[in-house]
Amino acid sequence: MQTSKQAYPFRWRVMDAVENTASAVWPSRFSRGLPYLMLLPAALLVLLLVIGMIQIAESSAHRLDRSTFLPSEDYTGANYSQIFSTGLYWTVLWRSLLGSVVVTALCLVFAFPYSYLMVRTSSPLLRKFLLIALFLPFFIGQVVRAYGWLIILGNQGVANGLLGLVGIEPVRLLYNYPAVLFGLVQYMLPFAVLMLAPALAAIPEELESAANSLGASWWRTFTHIVLPLAKPGLVGAGLVVLTLSLTDFAMPAILGGGSQDFIANAIYDQFFRTSDQGMGAALTLILVGIGSLAVGLVFTLFGAGTLAMGRDRK
């Protein structure tokens, strides 16, 4: 025997109420605004960053008064002029810029064959293995990975142990520039591979076969077919690696041992060692400026590549 209650289940009543509330709050004549309403929470969340940036800009305009250790009341550009006239900051800036360019180049060169093999291999097992080998370090985090390198490269570490077996005296492998760059390359490789892979997957395999059957060597096929078509992936990967390594903190701090500071380390020191908030804020703003400049330049030159979100991804 069916009661009317069962004929119209409770769940339907709830759904009716939800639908009615929804159409009361947002009538269908507003439907053109719906996507903007859906974007609103994300936009508000990101707004926190924008407000943070404004805060940084504000405090960068105040000079630290050395007698009271309070920021000055008046607005001044003194922090910036001091940064530009201090040789140390230029050294740090140059070190970070050069380092991030070298790391980006190395990452792209080594990530390319890895993603290529991962995308093209006919063996699902190999693909899964390559994916796991990629995700495991990606998901472990920078500090643990840097710690692993400390164990490997330390004076009594694995690398020196192996060198000792063939009779080579221990070498100081840590706390120098190459060690930091090496750590950064290892940190960035998964990012680079993951940004490259979708672009490579979008290249039809038939194109390569066609080039082959027309007599092109694999190297020619690579430079004339694969490389140009992989451009969106290279742009996306290059951008991510460049900006992340330019602004990295942990690798220079842990593997550089304080002697190989990047800009982020200099900023941290200004805030937490010298407690000169204005100076740190000015440095931060300069770094944000350099980063945005690099991103904007690449975007206008090459487009957003695989970084694009939403419909018009290429």
Binding site: S23, L34, P35, Y36, L39, A42, L45, V46, L49, V50, G52, M53, Q55, I56, F110, P113, Y114, L117, V119, L131, A133, L136, F139, Q142, V143, V144, R145, Y147, W149, I151, G154, Q156, Q186, L189, P190, A197, P198, A199, A201, S209, S217, W218, W219, V240, L246, T247, F249, A253, I263, A264, T284, L285, V288, G291, T306, M309, G310, R311, D312, R313
Partner: protein, 266 residues
Amino acid sequence: MNAPLSKTIVIWVMVGMVLIVLSAPTLVVLGASFTSGNIIAFPPDGFSLQWYAKIAMAADLRDAFMRSLAVATICTLIAIPIGTLAGIALSKYAIRFEKTFQVYLLLPFTIPLIGSGIGLMLLFGQMGMLGQIWPIGVACCVINLPFMIWAVSASAGGLDPDLELAAANCGAPPISTFLHVTLPAVMPGVISGSLLMFILALNEFLVSLLLTDARTVTLPVQIYNSIRSIITPDLAAISVVFIACAALVIALLDRLVGLDIFLKSK
């Protein structure tokens, strides 16, 4: 495809180098955690589980790990609704100023982490919210939000808009259409995105370093602070906790959506 030998050799040599470089720290940390010696040396001094016993007893490490878990959970819970809605909106609708929205929503990636971290530190400091766990979760969510939006919009791109029209045509009101057609279609993206958000927040170091104090220190920051003073095998044993978490998330990703989802051409 029959690849020439030289191509196969070049690819495999480079891939082999990448594999060694990627896996070396993980393997060495795993190996070092089982040493029976008091320092980490090579070759290792023998096998023991003493360092695991030691970290299991350490209350400060356990607390730090719990805080990390809380941060990651808060971050994921915020990211799921916000990122899902934004991802669907970006991939389904023709939006005016779409480029502007994209650039704006990519800000967490284009602003350097140290910049975001310090900005949020000043902001939260002014609002008197430092010294709590949840602002760290919010911060981790903000800086990784594009990952969530990407994952969802990649799934939503594969959804045929006719399906939603068909549902509406059969009389389904908007919310029902969303719940029964749109949401199931983007579910793989939501799952992979939220797993990413969780593990990235669990590992987040720099922003946590800036936002934590002695009471709210998270595990990566705790490890970093200990590295500075002295290298002992108990750090390796804690690091294995992270390796285990990473392996768990990879297994979940593989079971629920398949790792291949990251190889799809967008």
